[in-house]
């Protein structure tokens, strides 16, 4: 094998729990910290790579990394073809459709008259698939951040966003119209690597699976 097993870790909210999980199954991850400038860290037989969550799926799909830990939300939005092997159960959040508390009835009335709703989101793919499944005609407005403000400034009627506690929605006077899907962190693998490097990957899958089941 030409290089060590490469394991991609999502920076940000999932990093602490990911490291805790890997530490719990016996990997020395003390050399990896969120503020370290080194993005590639070798520990034992594994080379860890930190990357933006949305890039993890791309790394693993294309075989630049063999395995990774990333949220189901990222996988849903990217549609990358990777193997989802274990539900690690941390990083729980959910995709929801939300609207201004007072405006739900009015926007449904508008929908009847105008035939289409405007939906602002950072997750156009998830949003589009959801509304297509529900048979609701929408125009997706893609924004890069602070989607909660979109209804207040008249950019969109509704939003599709990822929420953990719902505090941000409440602070912006938004109510959940419906839930789209829950999300937790997943252990993923590149399809070809899962075959070729099974000997290295299988123990990780087994141990992380037992670790997740015991929580």
């Amino acid at each position: 094998m030409s290089r060590p097993l490469r394991f991609a870790l999502a920076q940000g909210a999932l990093l602490k729990d990911s490291l805790a999980a890997l530490g719990a199954i016996g990997h020395d991850v003390s050399g990896i910290t969120a503020d370290d400038r080194r993005l590639v860290v070798r520990s034992g037989d594994i080379e860890f790579v930190r990357a933006r969550p949305s890039d993890i799926a791309t790394y693993v799909e294309r075989g630049a990394a063999d395995m990774g830990i990333v949220g189901k939300d990222v996988l849903m939005e990217s549609a990358a073809r990777v193997l989802e092997l274990v539900d690690l159960k941390f990083g729980a959040c959910r995709f929801v459709v939300a609207a201004p508390r007072q405006m739900v009835a009015r926007s449904l009335d508008e929908y009847r008259h105008l035939g289409s709703l405007e939906v602002a989101t950072k997750y156009p793919r998830v949003a589009e698939q959801h509304f297509r499944r529900r048979g609701i005609a929408v125009e997706i407005v893609r924004v890069a951040g602070s989607v909660e403000v979109a209804p207040q400034v008249g950019l969109a009627d509704w939003i599709v966003d990822l929420v953990a506690t719902g505090a941000t929605l409440r602070a912006n006077d938004l109510a959940v119209v419906e839930e789209i899907a829950p999300s937790t962190a997943r252990l993923i693998a590149n399809t070809a690597a899962y075959h070729v490097r099974r000997r290295e990957i299988a123990p990780l899958v087994e141990k992380l699976s037992a670790w997740a089941a015991s929580r």
Binding site: L83, E84, V86, D87, H195, V196, R197, R198
Partner: protein, 396 residues
């Protein structure tokens, strides 16, 4: 990697995902094509060429958004073919409806698929493959497997394994589930989502021990297959054994049982296989038994086949240092008197020497020998004069 083929300013370039294949690469692809098609033909497969464009309304192995489609002048929706297997299924149903016995067909041809922008994906690439239509059973499965292994070996590929699974074995793991639930579970597995598949199975009433059994069976690879009971697992082992009898190869362990293999396409019914290489993040080739596809065209018949993704094979070969066997060198003949030059070039070519009159701006990795005209039957190389026959012998 920098995107190729994107428009920049006013300079026209091919559309996204399409690109020029220049001579160095084209020569290498020709060498791969030769090795593959010669092996196909050694197993009795006959070449065929379906059209580039098919009706879009019919059966397709890919979802509509993966097709490159357009409206014909008469208003019918047509698509550039996304694969050859579907075209062959249509063609066999139409043109060989009454044929009995074994049809052995092969191809080497470009296919076209819509890809999202900015992922570095090509929308046109060559596929090489075969379809064996008619026979079912282990000998036919083993033939397809052995032919795939031998084709890749003859093309020069080393270090790859062929992972061999069985869709029937995976299906039987979920046989206690209601049919609609089982279909959903299998769809999740085809999408690579084991988490989702087992969640659905649990929601569908599958017991924890049964789920644990399914999980460990799916993880069986290599010798692990010996622990798996049932006819499907036995069949899988026999197919690999027979295939290795047909083609030994330099690595006798080229075929590896692997029950986690679930191709994305839904029409497979039995043995399935994928070629993986440690240096390439995607499978190089894939195939299997698909007894249901021809039925979709109204002519149910068993079939087994495979398709090799030629650019990925090229990538793996190139990465391992492979270069095509060098052809005879080209003699770049600096012209003298036009009539004498023309006659000399004709004589040289008649003796089997490749001659380009004047310079060679694109040697494409081939050796170029500079020569000057002496007279109608002699050239000078490095100041030394040779006759046509002497040069032909020297370069042979």
């Amino acid at each position: 990697m920098e995107r190729r083929g994107r428009d920049s300013g006013l300079r026209p370039a091919p559309p996204r995902g399409f690109r020029d294949i220049l001579p160095t690469e084209a020569r290498e692809l020709r060498a791969i094509e030769r090795a593959l098609t010669e092996t196909f033909s050694a197993y009795g497969y006959m070449p065929l060429e379906p059209p580039m464009v098919e009706h879009s309304a019919g059966e397709s192995v890919l979802a509509g958004d993966r097709l490159i489609q357009f409206l014909d002048r008469d208003g019918s929706l047509v698509a550039l073919r996304p694969d050859i297997t579907t075209a062959i299924a249509r063609l066999v149903a139409e043109r060989y409806a009454d044929a009995s016995g074994a049809l052995r067909l092969s191809y080497f041809a470009p296919v076209f698929r819509e890809e999202p922008a900015m992922l570095g994906a090509e929308r046109e690439f060559a596929q090489a493959g075969v379809e064996l239509v008619g026979p079912s059973g282990v000998l036919a499965d083993a033939e397809a497997l052995a032919l795939l292994a031998e084709s890749l070996a003859r093309a020069g590929l080393a270090g790859a394994t062929i992972e061999v699974g069985h869709v029937g074995v995976v299906r039987s793991l979920f046989s206690t589930l209601a049919e609609d639930v089982r279909d959903l579970v299998l769809r999740e597995l085809r999408d690579g989502d084991h988490v989702g598949a087992f969640r659905r199975a649990r929601e569908g009433g599958m017991s924890d021990p049964a789920i644990a059994h399914a999980r460990s069976t799916l993880a069986a690879r290599g010798r692990g297959i010996e622990q798996v009971a049932g006819d499907g697992a036995l069949e899988l082992r026999e197919v690999i054994h027979l295939a290795r009898e047909m083609f030994k190869g330099s690595d006798p362990l080229w075929g590896v049982p692997n029950l986690s293999l679930m191709p994305a396409l839904p029409y497979y019914t039995g043995i399935v296989f994928e070629v993986v290489h440690p240096d390439v993040g995607f499978p190089i080739a894939a195939g299997g038994r698909y007894d249901l596809l021809l039925a979709a065209f109204g002519a149910p018949r068993p079939a087994v086949g495979f398709a090799i993704n030629v650019p990925r094979l090229h990538l793996a070969l190139f990465g391992s240092g492979w270069r095509p066997a060098s052809d005879r060198p080209i003699v770049a003949l600096a012209p003298g008197d036009p009539a004498v030059t023309a006659r000399l070039a004709a004589r040289l070519r008649g003796a089997g020497v490749a001659v380009a009159i004047g310079g060679v701006a694109e040697p494409a990795g081939q050796r170029v020998v500079d020569a000057t005209v002496v007279d109608e039957t002699h050239v000078a190389l490095d100041g030394k004069t040779r006759s046509v026959d002497e040069l032909a012998r020297e370069l042979a």
